[in-house]
Point group: D2
Chain length 108, copies 4
């Protein structure tokens, strides 16, 4: 596996972890109401990141197309997370936006 | 595929649908706070149901063990959903408890 | 949920089942060698169909984009399956090409 | 997240990567026939490892039960991979058996 693939897998797995942790932490917040969109996107983003990692690890013929979709979802999730001051949201936003950029390069 | 497998796949896919629909509907409720545990279990239950359906469809050597785990998660999700009066929760509880029973029989 | 969504979920779940069954059956064929590409695409297609069904069931903001990707993978898997005379491949090709068309319409 | 969880997530993600890489490499081998059981178990093991990682990352109430199942599948996949001399199989066997042990401890 070349280093571009490896960097993209790493970014996807780190974003998956940040999103799953943020999903759990949002559900434990006092104001869950305000976190509803964050919870929804955390699930979706964690799942597409796992899917993209798998596609890269299996040398899928659709790796680029999947990374394109992953970049779009990561960007949306990152934007939503950035709105909230909780540290799990801020960390998640960072992981999402980094992953979006790396997936976007992979897809290009 | 024999009819026991087919019935179990059907129950898993119906439970997956009920849980995913309930997940979405809970996030749109006015009182999301009260639905936090339901949202968490809906995701987990929908995902294990999809996993169990795949195991049955691929004649996995771990089909029984996976159905055992699926039954446990379905039962917990069904109990939580039953507490809430929303029709999506009541429907979800019904699908979960039915799936738990069928998976329990498959695992036996 | 409206009827367009329901028809698309049904097509995805039927395609998932056909692909997972074909995956298992291909691994049990005498000439596995010839089925290698079919096995690879069956896994990928079954997984994206499960992913698309989940996106539709949760009213995902990315439902259309995910269905577009699903259509592309279904089409490729359907083309590959069509080359093989095994009945599981022919049935799978049919389910894939039907799902590709319905997902394509959903994405439009 | 405590260090036991972190170590278990790491082992699951490394095992997922080894299994997905082995799945791809087996499908590209000259003698695919001989690798059929390896291919089947690689898919199942990669998928349950991703599932277990998600459960740990979201602090799932079923984390232990899922790790128990993950340990069983990893062990079976590790045993199968160990039979084959290909370096991707040997590396996969190592990752599987390590993950099995760590998941077994988590489940205890």
């Amino acid at each position: 596996m070349n280093s571009t693939y490896e960097a993209c897998i790493k970014a996807c797995l780190e974003c998956m972890e940040a999103c799953n942790h943020c999903f759990d932490a949002c559900l434990k917040e006092e104001d869950v109401q305000m976190m509803a969109e964050c919870i929804r996107l955390d699930r979706e983003c964690a799942d597409i990141c796992a899917f993209a990692a798998k596609a890269l690890q299996t040398d899928s013929p659709f790796a680029k197309e999947i990374c394109q979709l992953c970049a779009d979802i990561c960007e949306e999730c990152g934007k939503e997370c950035k709105k909230h001051h909780h540290s799990h949201c801020q960390k998640c936003a960072e992981a999402c936006l980094k992953c979006a950029e790396i997936c976007r390069n992979m897809a290009a």
